[in-house]
């Protein structure tokens, strides 16, 4: 086990280094750079001289060869300096410090929500296959899968402003936007966060529920379930102890992939809901070729992915004694 951990950790470092290179180069693949997109966005009336453009390039270091730019970027990151966001004219570190905690504050509860809701429903659906409840959850599940989360967000915003006069979107209601932290503000944030979690988690819940149902249905007809039944265990007890235990480990092993998916896969929903998370930040950064910001977010996402996969693997090793490390 010890040597496995060391081996995997070394692998992770190598993978992250490779990803950082790929991320940095891919960001710059589109023609032009930040200066061209910046110039075209402000070039409405005034003409910008070629000299000014060159000066800007020089100022941002964009005139250097790519490999030099990468080396500067990565060595700075190792010293804790993520560089400057051209667009925001602030350090990337600042922007991330603002957005990442809120992103995690939404992502982690959403992940918990997805599994806490989907697994019990999946179990129920499989055990009571073709019952009214199963059909109902199947129906709801397909709807949840078919409707994009952002559309659900729009509908929810409409319904709550139209019929309840409530305020949806953002993490803070207007009256708390700039207020100091207080009990009322915490309550306000949790209420808004609850809605965000519900909307962002819907499709994940629907998918996980279907996977859990399918995995468990396969296991329910296995011979060891019959052995447990012949032993005299009560039906629910034996189902939870044996087939659920076997069926749940591959489902849980996907937890690693949900981590980055929640952060980057929710740009549109987060934009619609006006959530101050990293998703919209990444979307804008890529659009305006704000390369240090985009590359940093992608780097962080890939580190999270690698860590998440590692945790999933550990979880699988723990859950299934047949897996050798």
């Amino acid at each position: 086990m010890g040597s496995y951990l060391v081996r995997r950790s070394l692998q992770m470092v190598v993978i992250v280094v490779i990803i950082s290179m790929v991320a940095f180069f891919v960001i710059q693949l589109p023609p032009g750079d930040f200066v061209t997109s910046y110039v075209s966005s402000i070039a409405g009336g005034d003409r910008i001289t070629q000299d000014a453009v060159l000066a800007l390039r020089q100022q941002f270091g964009l005139d250097q060869p790519m490999i030099v730019q990468y080396w500067r970027w990565i060595t700075n990151i190792l010293q804790g300096n993520f560089g400057l966001s051209f667009q925001h004219q602030r350090t990337v570190g600042d922007l991330l410090a603002e957005r990442l905690p809120l992103t995690l504050a939404i992502t982690i509860p959403t992940t918990i929500f997805v599994y806490a809701v989907a697994i019990p429903i999946g179990i129920y659906s499989a055990v009571r296959q073709y019952s009214v409840g199963d059909y109902l959850f199947t129906f709801v599940g397909f709807i949840g899968l078919a409707i994009p989360n952002f559309l659900l967000g729009i509908v929810l915003i409409y319904v709550s402003t139209r019929y309840f006069g409530g305020n949806v979107g953002g993490l803070f209601s207007p009256e708390f936007e700039n207020a100091p932290w207080s009990f009322a503000r915490v309550m306000d944030v949790s209420r808004n966060m609850g809605l965000a979690i519900l909307i962002i988690g819907t499709s994940g819940t629907a998918a996980t529920m279907r996977v859990m149902r399918g995995m468990l249905l396969d296991e329910l007809s296995q011979a060891y379930v019959e052995t447990a039944r012949a032993k005299g265990l009560s039906e629910w007890r034996l189902i939870l102890k044996y087939p659920v235990r076997v069926a749940v480990s591959p489902v849980l092993s996907t937890v690693g992939f949900t981590l980055p998916a929640m952060i980057s896969g929710t740009e549109i929903t987060a934009t619609v809901l006006n959530l101050p998370t990293t998703g919209p930040l990444l979307l804008n950064a890529v659009r305006s070729q704000d390369m240090f910001l985009a590359a940093s977010i992608i780097l962080i996402l890939s580190i999270l992915t690698v860590i998440g996969t590692f945790l999933s693997d550990l979880l699988l090793v723990w859950a299934d004694p047949r897996i050798k490390v």
Binding site: S221, Q222, A223, Y224, E226, T227, A228, R229, A230, K231, G232, L233, S234, E235, K241, Y242, R245, V246, S249, A319, D320, P321, R322
Partner: protein
């Protein structure tokens, strides 16, 4: 004569499918005396496994017991009709694994891959004997030693994939016997094992039976195993009992053409040199959704008379020497048995 431990009368277990009804067990009867070993023999699909599952009330859906009686004599002498119990109820669960236990064909898939051997055996002890987990562990090691498991104190913490097929079946037997059942049901327990392991497992079961005095209901399609293991044989065909009798009678003087065909489909040493061909039972099992009039075996029977055999279903009737046969012509056929010693 003592009172029977288990009496099955006219048991009918049917599967209601969208394509029709499959009568997996269709009016089967048998009796098991305390301490007796009864073999149930038949081709795949004759309903023998479903019958065992009917006894424990664990028939998988959409199977249902449609009629008949399964009378179990309890420890205190009272008789319980198992067909009348709620299959999820407390009463049948107290019987499963404690008074009647079962071992299955596939020792690999019949054990949970993600729980240790000790966990799976100890669970029955906690459930039926009310032991604490630590006591159950010590008992489990003892149970494993009892089935001659090597290094029982280490095996107890191992997972099924870490031990061999024969050891897994030993673990299954230890699990089935840890609560001292009065009836052990074995559903082809050695079919998945190689021949030498099979012999060891059978010898183990005989020894355990002598020690505990439990009865065994032994399901197999292997007549050789039946000869080794049982005193009394029940031959099943299409959900019905077609012949019953002491093992020697069945082997030396079969009365039913199906029994005869089964006996002569076993390869014998020297058969090839003698020029005799191995005979298989003619034809195959008929469509399970169809039920024709007359004797169920008539379409495959070489003695089919074309009259009573196809119009009138024969009843199971006594023909002497402790045998019962479901055939119109049992006495007249004079079927040949197999020679050789049948261990008593």
């Amino acid at each position: 004569m003592a009172d029977p431990l288990l009496t099955i009368e006219d048991l009918r277990t049917h599967y209601h499918m969208t394509q029709g009804t499959v009568r997996a067990v269709d009016g089967a009867s048998l009796t098991v005396m305390p301490g007796q070993t009864v073999g149930i023999v038949g081709e795949s699909g004759c309903g023998k496994s479903v019958m065992l599952r009917s006894i424990l009330r664990i028939v998988p859906k959409p199977g249902r017991i449609e009629g008949g009686r399964i009378a179990l004599r309890r420890e205190d002498g009272a008789v319980t009709d198992l067909t009348a119990l709620d299959p999820d109820g407390r009463e049948i669960r107290a019987i499963r694994g404690a008074e009647i236990s079962m071992i299955f064909q596939e020792p690999m898939s019949s054990l949970s891959p993600v729980h240790t051997i000790g966990n799976q055996i100890g669970e029955a002890l906690v459930l039926h004997k009310g032991l604490k987990p630590r006591e159950a562990r010590a008992e489990t090691v003892a149970a494993l030693e009892h089935v001659a498991m090597p290094r029982a104190d280490r095996i107890v913490d191992m997972y099924p994939h870490e031990i061999s097929g024969g050891m897994r079946q030993r673990a299954m037997i230890a699990m089935a016997l840890c609560c001292n059942p009065r009836l052990l049901m074995a559903d082809e327990p050695t079919t998945a094992l190689d021949v030498t392991t099979q012999a060891q497992i059978l010898a183990l079961m005989r020894r355990l039976q002598e020690e505990s005095g439990m009865a065994i209901l032994f399901v197999t399609h292997d007549l050789g195993v039946v000869a080794q293991m049982t005193e009394f044989v029940v031959i099943m065909y299409l959900g019905r009992v077609v012949e019953t009798g002491p093992v020697r009678e069945i082997y030396h003087a079969p009365k039913h053409p199906y029994t005869h065909a089964l006996l002569h489909s076993i390869p014998k040493l020297g058969q090839r040199r003698a020029g005799a061909r191995l005979r298989s039972v003619a034809g195959g099992l008929p469509d399970p959704y169809l039920r024709q009039a007359g004797c169920p075996f008539a379409p495959r029977c070489p003695h089919n008379d074309g009259a009573a055999c196809v119009t009138e279903a024969p009843a199971l009737r006594p023909v002497g020497n402790g045998c019962e046969v479901r055939c119109h012509h049992a006495e007249r056929l004079g079927l040949a048995g197999v020679r050789g010693k049948v261990p008593a």
